[in-house]
């Protein structure tokens, strides 16, 4: 069986080539962020790191970055605050129709982002007309939309860790007289902590990289980083935008590796 036959070699090269196809553009953009010339030319005449400083001085990128960070953190906290109890209800307190409820809570993942973005935008405006309470083009509006982007990730990962953790220790705690809250904080929470950390990471990633849902909801001076990148790309393509993209790749890559430390991603997907 063993040995490297010609067929196996061809199969391996095919797999490597496909991974290269997916990864190569990302490596290229990191490479370009160090080019010394503003006008792209390959191979470059020299290398520099000044584009990173230039990018951080540009108000659109700096403010977009801070905005995405703030929205991402708020949406993550909100999705944990409502997602963990929901996961607990679904996995620990069986009730009729819970599979339907699970699908409803996961639905933000399946509704096309551009459709959901358009619908929420129209809805916000209608609400504003009815109540004079503005949500479109506000920070709160973005956080609400992003909480919905994050919720399915939180639910999936926390549910997965509740399913894989057995209920014996929870039952033991209950039979020894602990009440529901004590059981949750002293027994269940430590068990599902890795799942919660992964959930937080993925929620943050989902919010931080979201483009389509935010598209309708950003306003002047309230733009997220992906939208700032999109707007810039419509006019120019240079090492500055490559530097901004590289920063986003670094942030998301780090979050992904951190979450893999807590939950083996190979088992979640």
């Amino acid at each position: 069986m063993g040995g490297l036959s010609l067929g196996r070699l061809a199969f391996l090269s095919l797999v490597v080539a496909i991974f290269a196809f997916v990864i190569a553009p990302l490596l290229t953009i990191v490479w370009v962020s160090f080019f010394s010339e503003k006008i792209l030319a390959f191979p470059p005449t020299g290398y520099t790191v000044t584009w990173y400083a230039r990018a951080s001085e540009m108000a659109d990128f700096y403010n977009g970055f801070v905005m995405s960070l703030k929205v991402g953190v708020c949406a993550t906290l909100a999705s944990l605050a409502i997602g963990v109890p929901a996961a607990l209800a679904i996995e620990r307190f069986p009730f009729p129709g819970r599979e339907t409820i699970r699908q409803v809570l996961l639905s933000p993942m399946y509704v096309p982002a551009i459709v959901a973005g358009a619908a929420v935008y129209i809805y916000f405006i209608e609400l504003e007309i009815l109540t004079t309470f503005q949500l479109a083009a506000t920070f709160s509006g973005l956080v609400i939309a992003h909480t919905l982007v994050a919720l399915p990730w939180t639910l999936r990962l926390v549910c997965a860790s509740l399913v894989s953790a057995n209920t014996v220790s929870e039952e033991a705690a209950r039979s020894l007289g602990a009440n529901a809250l004590q059981t949750f904080f002293y027994v269940t929470l430590p068990i599902i902590r890795p799942g919660m950390i992964a959930a937080a990471m993925f929620s943050f990633i989902a919010s931080f990289s979201d483009l389509e849902k935010s598209l309708f909801l950003v306003g002047p001076g309230k733009t997220t980083l992906p939208i700032a990148i999109l707007n810039y790309l419509e006019w120019s393509l240079d090492p500055t935008i490559a530097a901004v993209a590289t920063v986003q790749i670094l942030i998301i890559g780090t979050a992904l590796i951190v979450s893999d430390r807590f939950v083996k991603l190979g088992k979640v997907f």
């Binding site: 553009p25 390959f42 409502i82 096309p112 992906p226 999109l230 986003q248």
Partner: protein, 288 residues
């Protein structure tokens, strides 16, 4: 009996924990979707924006107007082509990952697959623009190698959109296929091999039929995602290639034609819903 009753009460208290999440999804996803479904039957008026009528006129326009016919066929065509290519590429990769013995390598490959997916469309499109531009890496390399005499136009063509979409969809397809292939026991392939079948014949005769639910699900997900793409057609396709996603944005945010924009959004939603139902139908059959 009373103990049972108490337990039931407690269960109901516990299930109430689902309410905040449910309220949020109902208020900020289901209600907005219901609203645009209603608007999709309304009629646009340049002055009053909306007339408050109920007619299927927008749907008739969406399928009868030559411009939107073109948008629909372009979208479906690009989505179909991308899906076929994605399936051809995802199958070997998913098979490779699912048959890896090293958990470590497996974990790293899954991260490598997920990373581009999670970067978001803005960064991914930027990367493809740098690769495919007239002065981009691809052209420079081909010029350098003497394959072409002058730069060829790749960016802002349908080919470019398909290439970029394939890279967007690959991670979804690989992850979906790989999870189905994980559940196919390797003993079946060993049986095929011990009968003297070539590895290729084993894959097509044993693995492919068993992985079929995964193939259908992955294809449905890929097609749905491709149809709904926004950033890729806008940035990689440029102004000449019209797809549904950008059309929804243009109608609602730029033209202020909420009824017609809602109609386009509802058509996308309906197509996606059908494909999702189809894919889950097939996926659930894997536990037979």
């Amino acid at each position: 009996m009373s103990a049972g009753g108490m337990r039931e009460d407690r269960n109901w208290g516990g299930s109430a924990l689902v309410l905040p999440a449910l309220v949020l999804v109902a208020a900020f996803l289901l209600a907005p979707l219901a609203l645009i479904l209603r608007y999709s039957f309304d009629k646009y008026d340049p002055v009053k924006l909306m007339l408050g009528v109920f007619s299927p006129g927008n749907y008739v326009l969406a399928v009868a107007d030559p411009f939107y016919q073109k948008v629909l066929t372009t979208t479906a065509g690009i989505a179909a082509l991308s899906t076929v290519i994605v399936m051809l590429l995802a199958f070997p990769v998913a098979y490779y990952i699912s048959r890896l013995e090293s958990q470590r390598l497996r974990g790293w490959l899954i991260i490598l697959t997920m990373l581009p997916l999670l970067l978001g469309n803005a960064v991914r499109s930027a990367a493809w623009m740098i690769v495919m531009g007239t002065k981009g890496v691809a052209n420079s390399m081909m010029l350098g190698a003497g394959l072409i005499e002058e730069p060829i136009k790749i960016l802002y063509t349908q080919t470019a959109v398909v290439i970029a979409l394939v890279s967007v969809l690959l991670p979804f397809a690989i992850i979906t296929l790989q999870s189905v292939m994980d559940s196919i026991p390797t003993s079946l392939e060993e049986a095929g091999q011990s009968l003297g079948h070539s590895p290729l014949r084993t894959v097509f005769g044993v693995v492919l039929p068993l992985a079929m639910p995964g193939v259908v699900a992955a294809a449905a997900i890929s097609f749905a995602l491709a149809m709904n793409a926004y950033a890729t057609p806008v940035l990689i396709g440029g102004p000449t290639i019209k797809m549904m996603g950008p059309a929804v944005y243009d109608q609602i945010a730029k033209a202020n034609n909420w009824p017609f924009g809602s109609t386009l959004a509802c058509i996308l939603m309906l197509a996606t819903l059908l494909l999702t139902v189809l894919s889950t139908r097939f996926l659930s059959r894997k536990y037979f």
